[in-house]
Structures are given as C-alpha cells and as structure tokens.
Amino acid sequence: MTEWTPAEIGILWLSLKVACVAVIASAIPAVGVAWLLARGRFWGRSWLNVLVHLPLVVPPVVTGYALLRVFGRRGVVGAWLEQALGFQFSFRWTGAALAAAVMAFPLIVRAIRLGIESVDRHVEDAAQTLGARPAWVFATVTLPLALPGIVAGLVIGFAKALGEFGATITFVSNIPGETQTLALAIYTQLERPGGEAAALRLAWLSVAISVVALLFSELLSRSFRRQTT
C-alpha cells in the first residue's frame, strides 16, 4: 500500500474527532439514563426507554431530518443557539458529532444499563448500611462494578459513531473537510467514476480502526474481570 494522502489523513482525523466528541459528550447522559432505566421506579420509564431507542429503529434519514428540524438554522433549538450563542450545528462538524451521538446513544445506554443491572443490589444495600448515602453508593460501588459495561458501551458507541452515515448526510450534508467522515468519503468515492481504489483504501482503514477499538475494549474488560471475579 502506498502512503496515506493528506486528504485521507484529513478524513481520518475528522472522523476520529467526530466520533470521540460524540462518545465523550454522550457518556455522562448515557450513564444517567441507563441508571434511570435500570434502577428507576417512576412514571414514564417505558416512554423514556422508547425515546432512547428510537434512533435505533427509525430510518437514519428520519433521525437526520428530525435533527435538521430541531437543530438546523431554522429549527427551534438551532435558531436560538445561533442567535444567543453564535453556535451552529448545521453543515458543521459539530452537527456531524451530534448526529453520531444521537445514533450511538441507544447502543451506549443498552450496554451501560446491562452493566448496572449486573451489579448486585444486595451489595449496594450493604454499602448503605455502612453509612453511604445513595449518591455515594452509586459512585463507590455501582459505577466501578458497572465499569466493564460502561467501557463496552463507549467502545460500541465509538464504532457506531465512526460509521454513522444516514443521519449525518441528511443533517449536515457531505462537505469535504467539514462533515465528510470516513463513511461519507467512501460513499463519495464509490459515486465517482474510477474512485473504487480510493474507496477500498478508506474501507480498510475503517475496518482497522473498529478492530483496534474492539480489541482495546476486550483487553480492558479482561483486566477488570481478573480483579473482581
């Protein structure tokens, strides 16, 4: 294989940036929602569950369109953000990150929820009898014990964010250097006559990143298991 061109490195860098920002921004809300779904007893829990999982089941184009209506320049939130803070999602890499985050969110929440549900509630009770208020029980017992699930969720979310296509192209279009991530670049090359070789190179690159991410998560969860079980 020949060396990577600056254009390819640009695409790779943008994709990593979009996926990392999407996952980092999702992490805390995802833990919160996963905890509510795993442990919460409140009215509307099923509706929250449906809402969170919606991007997993509706066509990505619909999610992208919804983002456009809400966060686009003329969207309810988008217009306000631009006026009040001068911040813009549409046709920017931040919008690509938002689309990736929304699409990855259900997968992240699912894995973290399983992680939290696997924590023995009896051990949490024990922590409370030892003087830890619920927030401390969560921080010192639930969270560390759910860590393998949290890591798994973030890694799968990263992989999903990296490969997001439909919602991204609908919401922020396909702008080289701004919103053209790996998946979009592969699509562009395939549309272009004679672009197949370039598409293949990028395809291999995306496979390689995903494999590294999965291996990394496997390694981490193995080191957790060695300690606690």
């Binding site: 009896h122 051990v123 922590a127 009898t129 030892l130 003087g131 830890a132 606690t228």
Partner: protein
C-alpha cells in the same frame, strides 16, 4: 440499650406481624425458614420498608410510618452482617474494612481499625481481594466492616450459613471476643440452637410471621432444644 420493633408487612402471600422489645446483650432470633426473621432485620436496618413499622433504638425513632418517619439505612448506625458476605468485590480487604469507617468519620467514638483487625485475625488478608478469601474469612471481614462503621446495634443474619460446616467453629469465638471486648448489643438470627444457647441473653422465636416465644434463654431451654 433497648430496641422496640413493631412491624406489619404483607408482601404477597406472606404476612409478618410482630412486636418486640429487646434489651442489651445478645438476642437470638430463631424460627423455621420463611418465618420472617430476615425481614425483621431488614426493617430494623432500613433496607426494607414495610407498610407499617415503628423502630426505636433507645429514644431514637428510626422509623414510625404512622407519622411518616423513615430514616434511611445510612443514617441508622446499625451494623448488618448478611447471610452472604456481600463484600465489595472491587475493593481489597483493607478498603472493605475501612469503607463504613470513612463515611462515619465525623461521628465520635468508633473502634480503632488495628484493634478490629487483630481481634478478627485479618492482618494477613488486608491486601487481598474478596474472591481470594474462604467463606469464613469473608464473613470475618464482613463482621469487621460492620464493626468499624460505628454501630449502635449489630444484626447478624445466619452469619455461618455461607460458611462450610467444618469452618463454622472458626467464626463463633471471634464473635465472642467482639462481644466480650465491646458491649455492642446484637440480634443473631439462626436455625441452630447450639450456636446461641450458651451465648444469647434473650430468645425470640418466630413462627409464620408472628412471635411464638419471647423470653430468657433459661425459659427457652425448657421448651428447647427444638429443631428449626
């Protein structure tokens, strides 16, 4: 010390309706499986909230559901050693032992960790994780962990149930030492009369969610030994 407990609780088919008044010392809570012994401890500790409960420790009202009082477990200062050790698997023995002590560090008194570690012979285990402990060692850590969290009352729910028969005798002497050195009142739930007949000051027997007997060991001895 005196503990007053009144519970009415009907989760599903089982009904628990008890009223107890216990003094200082060791109270044996005995009775067949499913008679409600663990539920009584859970309510006293605050981890189970029944329909109706009054729990008073001396003059301290821990729970009175008729007036909406329900103090959460972390504000009760009741040490609970469960049937299974329930140690924190991600923490070492030392961290497990000091867990409750840290949360109650602002309270006066409390036992010195070194003393508890020596008393329960845990010195050689401090750096280990719970998965590398035997059943008896785990329960000793659980007992030490409860003792170091400033308990005013100890609840022991069949602490020998998860220990191999051959190793049970390794725990009871430690419990005796704890009780000899520190006059912490305790409720000890068990099936085995032999575990408590020489240790208990009072005996309460539950049958089908109600108190069947309550009195001194001597009185209980006349009708015992029974098989629970």
């Amino acid at each position: 010390m005196s503990l007053f407990v009144e519970i009415r609780h009907a989760p599903g088919r089982f009904r628990l309706d008890v009223k107890l008044e216990l003094g200082a010392g060791l109270t044996a809570l005995v009775g067949p499986s499913g008679s409600g012994k663990t539920t009584v401890l859970d309510v006293v500790a605050g981890v189970v909230r029944p329909e109706h409960a009054v729990v008073r420790l001396d003059r301290d009202v821990l729970a009175d559901t008729t007036s909406g009082v329900w103090r959460p477990p972390h504000h009760r200062q009741i040490g609970y050693v469960f049937q299974e050790p329930r140690l924190f698997p991600h923490l070492t023995v030392r961290q497990n032992l000091l867990f409750g002590r840290w949360f109650r560090r602002k309270l006066p008194g409390g036992l010195p960790p070194d003393e508890v570690i020596a008393l329960l012979n845990l010195g050689g285990l401090l750096a280990r994780y719970p998965k590398r402990l035997s059943g008896g060692e785990k329960q000793r850590v659980a007992l030490g962990r409860a003792l170091l969290a400033h308990p005013k009352l100890l609840l022991l729910d069949e602490p020998l149930a998860s220990v191999d028969v051959g190793h049970r005798e390794e725990i009871l002497p430690y419990l005796d030492r704890v009780r000899a050195d520190h006059a912490i009142p305790a409720i000890y739930v068990t099936h085995a009369w032999a575990e408590v007949s020489e240790r208990a000051d009072e005996v309460v027997e539950l049958q089908n969610g109600a108190v069947a007997f309550s009195g001194s060991v001597a009185e209980a001895g006349r009708s015992a030994p029974r098989a629970w």
